[in-house]
Each structure stands twice: as C-alpha cells, then as structure tokens.
Amino acid sequence: MSNAAVLKDDYLGEYHVYEPHRAGLPPIRPYFRELWRRRAFAVELAKSTIRSTHHDTVFGVLWNVINPLLLAGVYYLLVAIISQATQPSDYFAHLLAGLFAFYFVAGCMSGGSASVTSAGRMIMNTAFPRMLLPLSAVYIAFRKFLPTMLVYLAVALITHVGVSTTALLAIPMFMLLMVFGTGMGLLLATAQVYFRDTASFLPYVTRIWLYVSPVLFYPDAKFIEKIGPLIHLNPLYSLLGGWGDLLVRGDLIPAWMWIEAALWSFGTLALGAVVFMSRERDFAVRL
C-alpha cells in the first residue's frame, strides 16, 4: 500500500528533470524501477508480435520445432558420413538439445538487433526505458524455445537417453544462457542503431558460432585439447557444453564450468546494459 504511494510519487508524481547526459548512464535506480514497473509492456509487445507473426498457431509452433529438428537430422547424417565412426547412442539427443538452446540464443540476438530500429515511431513519441524492447525480444525467443523442450523430451525418451534428476541442474544453466542472450541482444540492438547492416551480418556470425560451439561435438571431444585454452574464449563453450552435459548425459559438471558460464553470461549482460543505457537517449535522434 505505502509502497504503491511511494512508487506513484516517484514517477508519476511527478517530477522529471531532463539534463544533458551524452557521456554517462541515466540515474540507475529510477531507470530500473521504471523498467520493472513497465514490464507488462515488454510481455504485451512480445505477445502481439507473436500473434502478428502467427507464431501462436499450431503451424507456427510446429515450424519452430521442425526447423531445428530437420537441421539436427542433416547434421546427424553429415557427421556420421564425415567421421565414418558410429556416434554414441545419445548423439542425436545431444545435437538436438544443443541446437534448441543455440537457437534460443540466436533468437535473442536477431530479435534484439531488430527490436529498437523496428520500434521507430514508438521511440520518437513515447518516453520509456528503451531496454524494454530487447527484453521483449528475449521473451519472444523464450516462448519459442519452450515447445522445443517438449520435442527434446520425446526424443530423449524414444532414443532411450532418458532424463535423470541431474537434468534439473540444466535449468539454472539455461538461466545463464538467458542472461547471456539478453546481454547479446542489448549489444546488438545498440549496434543496429548505428550500423543498420548489423542484422545482415548476423546470420553468418551465428552460423560460424554454431560450428565452433559444443553442439555438433561434445565439450570433451578429443580435438579440443589441441585447441587448448583458446576454446574458453567462446562463451558458448561453457554455457552450451554445461547445458548438454547436464541435460543429456546427466553428468554433474565441474565447478569451473559453472564459474566460467556465470562469468561470461553476467559479464556480457553488464557490458550490454552499460552500452545500451549510455546510448539509448541517442536513439530518438538516430532513427
């Protein structure tokens, strides 16, 4: 009750000071309070985008599922032919789990990159924390991700991979993936405002990123030793490697993997948030 009164006084009540701030961040606490208060906007924006692109229909959901499923089939055949060796029995499940999670991150990135530039008029005419736009893109990616997990579960049961209780630890790992995806979305949203061709480079970047991440291979594959410590420069090595090990193999992953994943994800989020927030007041002039 009193809380509501305080809230009302702080923002609706209404006192705003606008000053130059090219150099730095906006006042942090009011910014995030305002952001939290308008969270329903991000959700509603996501829902109306999903509706208007028909991703809420049966076929829309099917498309989100079938696309990575077919891709997993293609990669499965490809790897089987090239390596000429029989893969472990959980290989298809591993591939699928990795692809679904990778698609989620890629969705945060492509959705995030378009989120600000496609909101043109809204930015020109309404004052609100712009971060709501890339956050909404993350929510869309998450909504598309959820049904793919049902498919994973079905495949895991059919191929006798099963789901162990350790797999529950994949949930916090997914949250780290989400934190990472949010950070990437914020960075790309900002980049897209200044360089409108960012989104057209993105598919190539994501494709290469997919090949160097532990999706087609296992995080403990032999050749990784040859690459050495360089592999840790790929944030998705620990994030997707940990995700696959926990979910598919049901292995507990070593502590360094958690730490590496957490450092990468929160570091990216912090960087993304600082870059986005220090630039966002420039957006209205740039669109």
């Binding site: 000053e19 309404t126 209205a284």
Partner: protein, 263 residues
Amino acid sequence: MPSDSDKPVGPVISVQDVCITYRTTFEKSPTLKDAVLRLGRRERSVREVEAVKNVSFDVPQGSVLGIIGSNGAGKSTLVRAIAGILPPTTGRIVVRGKVSTLLALGVGFNAAISGRENVLLGGLAAGYSRAEIADKYEEIAGFAELGDFMDLPMRTYSSGMFSRLAFAVAVHMEPDILLVDEALSAGDAKFKEKAAAKMAELVGQARTMILVSHALGTVRDMCNDAIWMNKGRLMIRSEPQHVINEYTRFVNVGESAYTLEDV
C-alpha cells in the same frame, strides 16, 4: 492533481537555457560497410543541426501555451524534449506531473496490430497498469468513434482515424500535462470540434497544455499564453494575439483565411 495547497506551486514546466542539436549523417541509413569504406578517405559525413538555441521559459499550472513559428523552427524538437524523448544538449528541463503526448508522428502505433492492442501497448509503454487501461478503454473507443475498426489492424485506418485514436488515448489518460503537436490536422470538422471541447474541459480541470499549431486561429482561441519560435530561438513570449500579430508581421502574410483555419 496532487494536493499542492501546502506548498507554493512553482512552474509545472521549466525550460532553462536549453539547446538541442541533432547530429545527422548524410547516408540514408548508416551502415558498417559505409563506415569502413569511409575510413580510407578520413571524411566524416556528420552534420550538426542546432534545432533549439538557448530557449528558456516557464509554464505555470493550468495555462495553455501555444507555440507558433515557421516550418523547421524547432517547435516539435522542443516539445519532444519536454516529453523526455530527446535529451537537451545543454540546459535543463524540469517537469512536474504526468505527461501525455500527442505528437506529430502519431502515437507509437504499430500498424500491424489492431487499434485495441495498440491502446493497451501505448498505455503500458506510458506507464499505466492493465487495470487502468481497461477502465479507460470503453471511454477511449467511444470517443474515437471507430466502431468495428478497433479490432482491425491499424494499417487499414485512414490518417484521420489514426489521429482520432491518438487523440482519444492522449486525453483520456488523465494527464497533468498534455503536449499536442499538430496532431489534429487530419481529423474532420466534427471531430475537431469535439477535440477542442475536450481540451477546454481538461483546461477547466487545471491541467496544463502545450499546443503546437500552424492554425493561428486555434492558438488565439484556445491558448492564454503563446511563444513564437524562429530558427531555434524564442522570439517573444506574450499573450496570444500579440504574438500572432508579431509573427504574421514578421513573415509578412497578414492574418488571412489560410493562417487562421485548421488545427
């Protein structure tokens, strides 16, 4: 309005020595490719436009301030800054109260989704709760008189229908301060009359309003205070008739049917 009987009311809007500069690039849309190609030439294709130059004024509560001036004078830029959309380049703007905007580009409507969804989205973006918007929805739809079109995507709307809905949203959100930037020009005569009555009603409730318009007649009838801007500078601030006289003398057109009509 919040109770303000116990403390002296300062101005509701205070614009203090504000300058606003746009930095524009010549390319239609900036790309990384262009930026890299340009590196070889070491040329910067950035031009600065000083849209607002050292403008200061206060708006007391309950007043209706008209802003007039030629095209490109900086009126829309100034109003955007007061709404908190564009940061001032130097100076300071203090605003007390809940602001609702009705700006020239049409509220942040998304043409792909229905009017109903846009009302909800616009309201949420402006910081209202779902419940508050649901409360107001019938009133908004009733005022806009769009009937079944409320459930059709907004790309099927005419520009007048767009501005009807924009106006209905802006005035029904119980703003303390309403900023209107040439937003009614597409409405038909009947709607303009209705809109003018609604604005008068808001002013009667001691709400503050800023009205940017090329229709000098509207400014004269509706405003009790006016400023004239020219090339980013505030030329004079006075009562509307005097400002209009000065402005029309300056641009040398005289009050004619063309300058008085239209919102």
